[in-house]
Symmetry: D2
Subunit: 148 residues, 4 copies
């Protein structure tokens, strides 16, 4: 198995343009760092991050909630259809070596909690202020911290 | 199907005696309110809450992470062996009508996030300070708020 | 935790009246044997078995595919909303000490395979002819074999 | 998202050399057909199939039962750590467009049942004789039928 690092991106399935640009820059940075991007494969932050990774020639994996692989966003290279709904969030956390949380509401909070419990590094960009998150100010800094 | 209310209790699998007494009082209150207690069925806060419910003549359901029903704590009346590890936390949230979070670390934070995302009322006792949690000062108040 | 035996009933979510009567007799037998009935909590064979158990004063647990506890059939005493769709079938198998398969198509075949893999006894009534299933001719015989 | 076909390979985690050679030929055929191989990512039939796909320059995805991505066999390109144990079998079925069952015992039977329930084509090589499986005599024939 190739020894790539897997970096997860977590965030809401809908987002405003500003957060989308941030997520896209995170995705681009992950690809430029030679890591594989893992996410939930749907819209919003997930789609923007995947787009950034693809623009930079990277590889993206989407772990979907539903039963239909074709529901992945257009920038997912490899889609997994789990059919277990939000329980797939835990598979994203377990698959990633480290994570970047971009914005996000309660779903992202849930993922952050689970990631910190699992001992994964979580870098935060405009997200919850939770003890244990490594804060970053820019997408570049977030990726650098996550890729360390 | 009987129309009982299901109140979930979430919290760590290990806890100090003080938090254990608080959890036990919550369990007792849930039983006295005529509700069914739902939890993860393991030790710590979960076991203390179940003990309180049984002392007061209540009914307890434990949704276990592992594959073996016999691993439930002694005060679980009905145990479900899911075999899906922490993903079972989501089944606890979905099954409960409302929840009381007692103390807790990152695992509980993850459950709180998921519960708030699912639109369930979460009452907090010495737990995370997250917008959306309804804070309570005593076990009695917590149960009253959760049972409303 | 009370030391009841848990007997699972697996079968399709829709069934003809004849198979329904057979499932109802199985449920009645499980209750009369003092065991708890575990099933998927939906319609067809599951509902008929639960009805039989309730008529005989037994206790029924329904482990549901969806996110909403209220979707359980009327004869489920305790409903678990897993939200993981068919993956909940595995929780039924793991929770039961032994199982009775009543009729059934591919979904039931999948459960039979998983139960036999998990080393659980599976008693079959008008179901798949798979090596490892203990065949029974009547509901009474099926319950007797499952309760042994 | 690239429009590759995903072909799943299901079979036991341990296998004799003869079945291993058959699985390897299936994997090779999947790669030569330009499809992506999806499997459980562990040993036995899964490992042999992945090896065959890699020899032929193909791409392999392993959807693992455990929490640790590094437990995938050496020939998995992209590994998903689900942490939901055998419930991950359902994600393999849902992700694949069609499947080849190679040998196999009860675990494979369970996957076959679920795949047929989900309406996926299942091609069988020395596996269970279940109505609905499309039988094949050689690895080449199996892949041809699965790729149609």
């Amino acid at each position: 198995m190739p020894k790539h690092k897997y970096i997860g991106v977590i965030g809401a399935g809908e987002c405003d343009p500003e957060l989308g640009m941030l997520a896209e820059a995170v995705g681009r940075g992950i690809a430029e760092a030679g890591a594989i991007l893992v996410c939930g494969g749907m819209g919003g932050v997930m789609e923007a991050a995947c787009r950034g990774a693809k623009v930079a020639g990277g590889t993206t994996i989407g772990i979907l909630p539903g039963q239909d692989r074709s529901r992945a966003n257009e920038c997912v290279d490899f889609a997994i259809a789990t059919g277990i709904n939000e329980a797939r969030n835990l598979a994203i956390i377990r698959t990633a070596d480290s994570l970047v949380a971009v914005g996000g509401s309660y779903g992202t909070l849930s993922e952050i909690g689970f990631a910190l419990k699992a001992g994964k590094k979580v870098v935060g960009l405009r997200t919850w202020d939770i003890k244990g998150i490594v804060p970053a100010r820019t997408a570049e800094e977030a990726v650098r911290l996550a890729a360390e």
